[in-house]
């Protein structure tokens, strides 16, 4: 049985991981490799793993991304200029034009799609986009993935079981 390690390890990693806002991090503190598991609901099945790209901004499809390059283009977006190609995209959800699904559908064709979607807010845009990208996607988590997952974490997404496993290597 996979241990529901999220809640347990959460307490262990927080003081070092995000600093909890207390005092400067010193080189003496070495963070150990950890694994966190989130449980959610299947949106699209399948399995994929990759590096996390995390944003707290919702993402527009048409007009918000360039589907030829898999890049966020929206003015003032936290990820502006960054690519989600082959990343596990961790974000609050979709916004904007109804061209969301078609724009992300084109990323599947151009080979610039993310590997998987991990998100909070269900909408018709994101559901349809995930379906036609045919990438494992999970939502409705027991913990907020935006609080837990950091840029660069290695994330394994098991769409069928609705399980997301986060691996963070040791850092000094």
């Amino acid at each position: 049985m996979t241990k529901l390690s999220g809640t347990i390890l959460d307490g262990e990693c927080r003081p070092e991981g995000r600093g909890a806002g207390t005092g400067p991090r010193t080189s003496a503190i070495v963070r150990e490799a950890i694994t966190i598991t989130l449980r959610g609901r299947k949106v699209v099945g399948g399995y994929a793993e990759g590096e996390a790209l995390v944003t707290r901004d919702t993402i527009s499809g048409w007009g918000g991304i360039n589907p030829m390059t898999g890049t966020v283009i929206e003015t003032r977006h936290e990820l502006r200029g960054q690519t989600f190609k082959d990343k596990v995209l961790v974000f609050p959800g979709a916004k904007g034009s109804s061209g969301w699904s078609a724009a992300f559908h084109v990323t599947r064709i151009t080979g610039t799609a993310p590997k998987a979607l991990v998100f909070n807010e269900m909408t018709t845009k994101i559901a349809l986009g995930a379906v036609v990208m045919r990438i494992p996607s999970v939502t409705d988590f027991d913990q907020d993935p935006l609080e837990v997952i950091e840029n660069g974490d290695w994330v394994k997404v098991d769409g069928d079981r609705g399980i997301v496993e986060i691996h963070r290597g040791p850092r000094g």
Binding site: V44, S97, S101, H105
Partner: protein, 420 residues
């Protein structure tokens, strides 16, 4: 339909709708009688990828892209009232838009193949101005966020923001997942916005929508206070703005929209999650934000008609231009639907705009067509939605103001807009 007894295309369409419904967590479908989408819209990237030409692309693109099917199926006539929304090229003004003949041919081939299958060719983001007006309570499956928010809020019909694939599938099946705005409990307001400054002009309504979208995201606002009785155009600009800065798909205006006779009704007798005032400071901040993408007061392009201009807007534009000439340094493009353009021609408005040096275009807009006059550096706009998208898409500066501010810029080549 899923068992294939009604043909392969309907089977593939149902298969996609089932996967979509499961992704949403929906348990059943509703019967939809009004679908608005962009069936088998051709683009170079799709033609290249599927190795087809515009002459033989319809079934391939409809099957493989729209229905997300690995198998190519023959696409039959649509099953329910269906219409085609805006595209990327104007059949008459394609040269003005800088499009080549291939782009025109692509658009025409896709359009005629859709028409042959019974799709109404409205070619507009405002189907409700071009003859497709759903009745209250009707289950629709519409794309185009500005049309969706109008459909739910002003008409009291029911649609989620559908996408290209789900609308193309719904055209063939008359089914769409029973989720979201099809359900009574989903349509109640979550956020209460109290308007403390008078909101009157189209500019005022665009700004209020832009503010609310950014505040509430995908949630449902109910608005009270100094809102008067907005006309169709104000609804159109308000909803489009709220759907761009956020993901607003429905709003309630107390005493105005059909599901908000009272604040209590709009809120479903629940307390709002948040109470948000909109006063002078918020209005000022919104105006500044919408004008934060411009520095240069020399304007070389004015684009109006987002969402597509209503007849009254063309009348206003013609009135402002009557007997005048545009600055040599500035171009003016006004976008509308084919249906409204015919009426505006009959009313003489198109002639007046043309005589002043402007152009009335249909089917598309600068953002969708990714088209501005060559060398454009600074555009002036009267639409918060277009201001949200166009600078990012085309890499240009954009001023936001009233229609009169924009026409003034077109006549003088300079921006003189002022905050209200």
């Amino acid at each position: 339909m899923l068992d294939g007894r009604e043909g392969k295309a309907r089977q593939k369409a149902m298969d996609l709708l089932v996967r979509y419904g499961e992704a949403l967590g929906a348990e059943r479908f509703v019967d939809t009688t009004n679908v608005a989408g962009v069936p088998a819209y051709y683009s170079p990237v799709l033609l290249d990828y599927y190795k087809v030409t515009p002459d033989d692309a319809y079934d391939v693109i409809y099957s493989r892209f729209d229905l997300d099917s690995d198998e190519v199926v023959e696409v039959p006539r649509v099953m329910v009232n269906s219409c085609a929304l805006q595209g990327g090229v104007d059949a008459e003004g394609w040269k003005t838009l800088g499009k080549n003949y291939d782009a025109l041919r692509m658009s025409e081939q896709s359009e005629s193949a859709s028409a042959a299958r019974g799709v109404r060719i409205l070619k507009t983001c405002t189907p409700y101005l071009a003859g497709n007006v759903p009745k209250q309570g009707e289950h629709c499956a519409w794309m185009e966020s500005s049309a969706v928010v109008y459909c739910n809020s002003v008409l009291g019909a029911r649609t989620n923001t559908e996408g290209r694939e789900s609308t193309s599938a719904a055209m063939l099946t008359g089914k769409i997942p029973d989720y979201g705005f099809h359900r009574d409990d989903f349509r109640v307001a979550t956020h209460h916005i109290q308007v403390e400054v008078p909101v009157e002009s189209m500019l005022d309504w665009g700004m209020l929508g832009y503010f609310i979208g950014a505040e509430v995201g995908e949630r449902i606002p109910v608005v009270t206070g100094r809102i008067g009785r907005p006309d169709l155009i104000r609804h159109k600009h308000f909803g489009a703005a709220a759907a761009s800065s956020g993901g607003v798909e429905m709003y309630h205006l107390v005493g105005v929209t059909p599901e908000a006779e009272t604040l209590e009704q709009a809120l479903g007798a629940r307390l709002p999650l948040e109470f948000i005032p909109y006063g002078k400071a918020e209005q000022r901040r919104t105006y500044e934000e919408l004008n934060s993408k411009a520095r240069d007061t020399n304007v070389d392009f004015v684009m109006l008609g987002c969402p597509h201009a209503a007849l009254e807007q063309l009348r206003e534009i013609a009135g402002l231009l009557d007997g005048k000439r545009l600055s040599e340094n500035c171009k003016l493009w006004v976008f509308t639907s084919r249906a409204i353009k015919v009426e505006a021609e009959a009313s003489g408005y198109v002639g007046v705009i043309r005589a002043a040096g402007g152009v009335v275009l249909t089917d598309t807009c600068s953002s969708i067509a990714q088209a501005v006059p060559p060398g454009t550096k600074v555009v002036a706009l009267d639409s918060a939605k277009q201001t949200h998208y166009l600078p990012a898409i085309m890499g240009i500066q954009a001023w936001f103001g009233t229609t009169a501010d924009c026409i003034n810029a077109a006549l003088t080549g300079r921006w003189n807009g002022r905050a209200p």
